[in-house]
């Protein structure tokens, strides 16, 4: 069986600073995978490399059996990979509804049409309304994105990655800055929406990690120090030493 996402020997450095070294990882289709690691471990850089935002120095990225190394972000998206950002990245002057609709346009077959009414894509609108409800943003449907509260913006950020129907979804710290209750709602949402899809997350909140993840990869100092099911990662001595330290009690 092919992996949903397969990384083969990725290297990346900025000038003389080496950020990532020899990252190899296989993520099975339909699983929820979490990447953890201390700040500066290169987690966001890894996402940027996978999604085409940054160029690799060496190595290959395969998506569902296809080599996507060096493709542009939009080409990668078209092959079924969507992502969210750590720093909220929305369309500030457009309404929540329009934000989500834009995210869904590619897969709804809108193309670049300038001769068809956007409102004519009824299925897309339905999909978006549904997502609005799921994100509990229904009452904020027509509010401009930059007028939303922070937590609402984070929810919308996740929504943009989810609405398009991609088979593999990369979320960069989806619950960052959320309250406990909001985090719990988000976890429920992710659990629900990741059914049948592959979910890769960077996450700091370890309760979320162990709640959701089927497999965990630990990044530290630009390298993978452990990868596997939660139980094995939890028991890994190097992980404890290199990363967990203060948070060790959560693990036990």
């Amino acid at each position: 069986m092919t992996s949903a996402l397969s990384l083969r020997g990725l290297y990346k450095s900025f000038g003389p600073t080496s950020i990532l070294r020899d990252i190899s990882l296989d993520i099975a289709a339909g699983t929820r995978h979490t990447i953890i690691g201390p700040n500066g471990a290169g987690k966001s850089t890894l996402f940027h490399l996978i999604t085409g935002r940054l160029r690799l120095d060496r190595g290959e990225v395969w998506l569902a059996g296809e080599n996507i190394t060096g493709l542009s972000p939009h080409a990668i998206f078209r092959r079924g990979l969507a992502r969210s950002f750590q720093v909220t990245s929305l369309f500030p002057r457009l309404s929540v509804f329009e934000n989500l609709r834009i995210a869904g346009m590619r897969n709804a077959g809108c193309g670049h049409a300038f001769w068809r009414r956007l409102d004519g894509f009824a299925e897309l609108a339905e999909q978006v309304e549904e997502m609005l409800t799921l994100l509990e943003l229904g009452p904020r449907r027509d509010v401009a994105a930059d007028a939303l509260a922070y937590a609402e913006q984070r929810a919308l950020e996740i929504g943009l990655a989810l609405v398009g129907g991609a088979h593999t979804i990369l979320l960069d710290e989806p619950t960052a800055g959320m309250s406990r209750a909001e985090t719990e709602r988000t976890v429920t949402l992710l659990r629900r929406l990741s059914a049948g899809r592959t979910l890769v997350m960077i996450e700091h909140d370890l309760s979320v990690v162990f709640d959701l993840a089927d497999t965990i990869t630990v990044l530290a100092d630009g390298g993978v120090i452990a990868s596997g099911p939660p139980a094995s990662v939890r028991g890994d001595a190097r992980v404890r030493a290199a990363y967990l330290g203060a948070a060790a009690e959560v693990l036990t």
């Binding site: 972000p73 939009h74 670049h112 309304e129």
Partner: protein, 433 residues
């Protein structure tokens, strides 16, 4: 998660139906205005003003398709306008020569010409965004002007290319020679082009252009190439600018290098910005107003260029949303019935504003009339007073007015601003609930 999907869909379709009705109403009204206008301004000058407005509206809307909808500042938009015009003009000459085409259809040639030129220009420029894009368009504009001047065989050099719109195939018995007849042709095209451009904002590409304007990076991660979206928008914009150019060709029956030059590009930027880039109606307001201003102010005072410069800078400083921005920021307040309170705050500003204005006008007029007097002219009157710009004390009056008024304004302005903010917040609060 409580609202049943059926109710939701129902609300939505009601929304859509109401929206559609509103749009139909607006365009119906526009058609009525277009039909009535020539009877209100029946003189040749009035018609010629209306014709220019129609052209300016299409041109400004096409410009705002880039700037307002797509976030692209094009310093050479007149290139597509002008070259579209030249295309129309050449076709018009063939029509004069016997090509069986109705003259009224010729702006379409301008559209094709504009789009045709926009393809290579856009191919180079739209791969970049922001300032780099703007600068490339500046370079392209300079290049285009240089080329047009260098090839008089095609563009007629300084004397331009002229044609005769009444030489073609008559349509329903009209030959379109008379200004009143050509008005209807131009009004027709202005309405069609405006409707189409409005339509484009409702299409996938139109929405994607908004997205690219706001956040091109994110668009890239949603499966679209931002450069491609910019490119297509650019070509469309060139297409509509070309229609405006074609209308211009029919109206003036002559087209010269100046129609593609930086002044024409600057004028459309001015119109669009003053009208407001944030709304679809902004450029229309700007086009109508600036056309009027250009023609009317010039007959009233020598200082009109200075005044338009000052008005422009004042708008940039205090009303960056343009006129439509002002309207939009007050509409909810008025709808919320809070206009009265705000009006009082504004009225308090009025005397100070008038005093300042009188001071500025006095200074400017004195300066221009001093120049006139030096050249042997007569100083004339201002506000019913005999002007003598060579007498020093006459300068003191407007100077004092200006300083006093400005000081007063800077005192009072924060109060009015606060009143507006309060009213806006109140109105927003009401609506939010």
């Amino acid at each position: 998660m409580s609202q049943p999907a059926t109710t939701l869909a129902a609300t939505k379709s009601r929304h859509a139906r109401q929206g559609g009705l509103k749009i139909a109403l607006v365009f119906g009204l526009a058609i009525v205005v277009a039909l009535i206008a020539p009877h209100l301004f029946a003189s040749g000058f009035g018609l010629s003003l209306l014709n220019r407005m129609a052209i300016a509206i299409v041109f400004a809307l096409s410009f705002n398709m880039l700037l307002g909808q797509g976030g692209m500042l094009d310093f050479g938009h007149a290139v597509f306008f002008g070259l579209g015009g030249f295309a129309t003009m050449h076709l018009l000459k063939w029509v004069d020569g016997g090509l069986p085409l109705p003259v009224a259809l010729l702006p379409l040639a301008g559209a094709l010409g504009g789009a045709f030129v926009a393809v290579p220009a856009g191919w180079i420029s739209t791969r970049r965004e922001g300032t780099a894009f703007a600068m490339i368009t500046l370079g392209i504009a300079e290049l285009a002007v240089a080329l047009v001047v260098m090839i008089p065989q095609w563009f007629g050099g300084e004397e331009g290319v002229s044609g005769d719109r009444s030489g073609g195939m008559p349509l329903f018995g009209f030959d379109f020679g008379a200004a009143s007849q050509i008005y209807y042709v131009l009004a027709f095209w202005a309405l069609i082009a405006a409707a189409l451009m409005w339509g484009v904002t409702r299409t996938p590409l139109g929405r994607l252009a908004n997205a690219v304007r706001d956040n091109p990076l994110r668009v890239d991660f949603l499966g679209y190439d931002p450069a491609r979206i910019r490119f297509l928008t650019f070509i469309l914009s060139g297409f509509f600018a070309g229609i405006a150019g074609g209308m211009q060709a029919l109206n003036d029956e002559i087209l010269t290098v100046s129609n593609i030059g930086s002044q024409a590009s600057g004028a459309v930027l001015l119109m669009t910005y003053i009208g407001g880039v944030g709304t679809f109606s902004g450029p229309i307001i700007g086009a109508v107003l600036i056309t009027l201003l250009q023609m009317a102010l010039g007959t009233l005072t020598d200082a009109w260029q200075l005044y338009s410069g000052l008005i422009f800078v004042a708008m940039v400083l205090w009303a960056p949303g343009g006129i439509s921005g002002i309207i939009r920021s007050h509409a909810p307040i008025l709808r919320g019935g809070l206009g009265g309170r705000l009006l009082a705050a504004y009225l308090a500003l009025l005397p100070a504003a008038l005093v300042t204005l009188a001071g500025i006008i006095g200074l400017a007029e004195l300066a221009y009339r001093l120049q006139a007097v030096r050249g042997g002219g007569k100083p004339g009157h201002l506000f019913g007073l005999a002007v003598s710009p060579t007498t020093p004390w006459q300068w003191l009056i407007p100077l004092a007015l200006f300083l006093f008024g400005a000081a007063l304004l800077s005192r009072l302005a924060p109060g009015a601003r606060a009143a507006w903010q309060e009213a806006a917040a109140f109105a927003a609060g009401r609506r939010g609930r």
